[in-house]
Symmetry: C2
Subunit: 218 residues, 2 copies
DNA sequence: CGGGCGGGTTTGTGATCACATTTGGCATGG
DNA sequence: CCATGCCAAATGTGATCACAAACCCGCCCG
């Protein structure tokens, strides 16, 4: 355990804890982890080739964002959300996403819509291939591409913490219902964007969000 | 530095990093810290009688919530918000708080309103005494008492991170304008609650939030 | 055959240390 | 008087260790 004493610094790499954080964050948000999955300091450390200290910081950061759950004894797991909690998080999405979409609408140009179109095709492919992680990833990227244009970094930041909390659950839901049909309301979103129709866009975003998550609830 | 080797454990105290976190969080949210205030690991550690490790975890957690800002070199300070950012955070409050109030309205009973009345009187006292920290504290407690009834823990959690981000700025604003007049719209909020008027409550909350922060913006 | 109890193992917590980078201020030179 | 370079102090980062609590699993007793 002494082989990495010399860190060949090429160009000031990002800190180790940040690398660990980003890796885990992506795993959580994209649904690569199942709800209830346990994460240990030494396990994460070994996985990323670092000691416990950076692993601890990464986990602390993620739990602070709600991406992970801290048990009373300090154990860290991916969250197992109650149906009430899922419902509430969906309502938060339904509150924030139309607002972000509406703000983005004024600034949306054609290149943006084209880019969303491309992402949406990748999303359809992921559905056809039954690839849950890729489905979640492209779906979030579709939405984020739009919301980035809203120029509201704080609101987008809040929304991303909501996505983080839903990550493992979305994965579980997806593998449970195994949909093979096309993505539901993305076409409506794109049409509203092209038409510059604010009300239609808000509605399409809201239904896309609530529809996607209300399929379980039982 | 070896005097605390024996930790007289009486009844399983909370972890040190949590104690540090709570202390700092309250300082930030209540505006006890000025924007741009620097916090060092060793300084925090000495202040709370712990080593760097718990201090680091507390700071990491707070920066993850947006309560503190991390410079490129890893230094931690309280945030100095741009006017745009203040405006955006106010808009988020204006989006979340009417929603939370509306949800609480159905479940609000007289005892709750009485309690808010008491808090509001303490708030008026703080204004009269020109006590910014106590003003901010009672003002937030007034709102939180209402929102707790909404039974929407995730949404309230998001809102609290917004409050956290605004904490130092609210302090700076308060000491800058030194208002001595009564709190603006709290009476309207209480009246709407008593009347069970959803629309009036939403409006009163929204204006209370935006009014309070739009006084600077320069 | 089921449930409580034990003990080895795993795990989080906090302290400490070495190290590289950054910072801040002061002297020097223009 | 201001800019610049330099050095000591301050600071964040990551590794390692000791320790107590929690956990897990199998054994034994009822």
């Amino acid at each position: 355990m002494v082989e990495t004493l010399v860190r060949t610094v090429t160009a000031s790499e990002p800190p180790a804890h940040d690398r660990v954080y980003r890796g885990l964050r992506q795993q959580v948000m994209h649904g690569e982890l199942v709800p209830g999955q346990a994460l240990t300091l030494r396990g994460i450390g070994k996985q990323y080739g670092v000691s416990m200290t950076p692993a601890r910081e990464a986990l602390r950061r993620l739990t602070a964002e709600g991406a992970l759950t801290l048990s009373a004894s300090g154990r860290v797991t991916t969250p197992e959300l109650s149906n009430d909690r899922i419902e509430e998080l969906a309502q938060i999405r339904a509150l924030l996403e139309p607002e972000l979409g509406s703000r983005a609408l004024r600034r949306a140009h054609l290149a943006l819509i084209d880019r969303m179109e491309v992402i949406n095709e990748a999303n359809a492919r992921a559905i056809h291939l039954q690839d849950p992680v890729e489905y979640i990833r492209t779906n979030l990227e579709f939405h984020r591409t739009l919301y980035l244009r809203a120029q509201s970094p704080a609101m987008l930041g809040l929304l991303e913490t909501v996505w983080l909390q839903l990550g493992p659950t979305m994965r579980a839901l997806y593998t449970k219902l195994r949909r093979t049909t096309a993505p539901p309301h993305h076409r409506l979103i794109l049409e509203a964007l092209r038409a510059g129709d604010d009300a239609a866009l808000r509605l399409a975003l809201r239904t896309d969000v609530t529809q996607g998550l209300r399929h379980l609830q039982g």
